[in-house]
Symmetry: C2
Subunit: 244 residues, 2 copies
């Protein structure tokens, strides 16, 4: 049996998240439906990790087992032909039997997009989070560097989620700007539930002057969800790439 | 009575065009409704020119007469508070009584966005036109230069539209690229109905190798809609700026 890896782009604003749910349109249910229309096989896809309703992906990775003989290019085109335009398979390849998008994953890159103009954007309102108060980007750039390295990010995960190992390593952080937009980029070996959105909320508090960059190490060390900033909304968040 | 000029951004994919139509949600009807909620006045806005259903604007200009005493900042915030997020007033100012967005207009800038990747974008599908066949951008850059200057653009307007003066001057043309995207930018003293979309369709024919850059002068000279390329869809088109 073949093991197929696919890179998937999707518009999270259109779906109730990635994971299948009864009677809800999700990215997983749409992809499984399209695969069935092409191969006549009932498959369950694996994926690198869930994304919440509203979160988009440029490079989500999924896999499935199939007996189809279709070459990868034809398979990609055929599945895309059965998907709505809000989900696009950008690449398909055959991988080894033991490849699993989650268990084989070595790291991920996320981006969070803030629009920091006075009134926000009508055209891109669904693709970014609007913060009308002027943010101090230089302070945010200082603050984000404290997140690099290996830390226990217990204070930066949604409260109520499971209490297993919350140590993660962030390899690289970046803040880029273009006109009124601020792009927060995090690359790490893994991220806890809501971790990127809580880090972003904390960085916004720095940008607003509510806390200082040098406060970040203490906030991480406290391991207390209440010390970190708020969880910013999902629609500014993008899963950019998954590393293997 | 005050004469108010406003700069408006809107997401054209959400509306049946700019101009008011019975029983349809249009940009004009929404703005007039919001003004009425703020000022209690029934106004009819003037605008720099219609945009079709699907066409977005960063910098449409509208004006209206009012007796309100609200300062411009408060007026802007109040009108935005009564609009959906798919229309945003980006600026409000008091202008002279004889200012009219269309009659006072000295020129306009439009942009058309093409996504030239193999499968297009799931996230930005409503903001750009997907052309999967690889386009030769260097040839398109040569071709677009022939549109600069003063020409009779009779062949580049929707057939069936009125036959009045079709001479227009294009001051500046540009083609920019970023990754798989191609941005076609035209600045001129005015544009005929569908003119930017037909010029773009013709440039795509150049990019596909169906015609050569040096064919453009003859196509313009022919003044025949059938000689020019097809009218590309509205959702890649943006009214960027209106000059006074």
């Amino acid at each position: 049996m073949r093991n197929i890896k696919m890179i998937v782009e999707y518009d999270g604003s259109r779906y109730y998240g990635l994971q299948k749910q009864p009677n809800k349109e999700t990215v997983q249910s749409e992809i499984e439906r399209a695969i069935k229309e092409v191969t006549s096989e009932e498959v369950t896809i694996n994926y690198s990790g869930r994304t919440d309703a509203g979160v988009s992906a440029y490079g989500q990775v999924v896999s499935f087992k199939t007996n189809t003989n279709l070459p990868v290019d034809k398979l990609c085109m055929a599945i895309n032909a059965h998907l709505k335009k809000s989900i696009i398979i950008q690449d398909v390849e055959d991988v080894q039997e033991d490849f699993h998008p989650r268990y084989s994953c070595k790291g991920k890159k996320y981006m969070y997009v803030i629009n920091n103009s006075k009134y926000g954007s009508a055209i891109y309102r669904k693709n970014e989070y609007h913060v009308p108060q002027k943010l101090d980007v230089e302070k945010m750039k200082k603050a984000i560097k404290y997140f690099e390295g290996t830390h226990d990010f217990k204070g930066f995960k949604a409260s109520g989620t499971s209490n297993k190992d919350s140590v993660r390593t962030i390899y690289e952080t970046q803040i880029q700007t273009k006109d009124d937009r601020i792009y927060i980029i995090l690359r790490g070996n893994g991220f806890l539930y809501n971790m990127v959105r809580i880090i972003t909320g904390t960085l916004i508090d720095v940008g607003l002057g509510k806390i200082q960059p040098k406060d970040i190490p203490n906030i991480i060390e406290a391991k207390d969800r209440k010390k970190a900033g708020k969880t910013v909304p999902p629609h500014g968040l993008y899963l950019m790439e998954v590393y293997y």
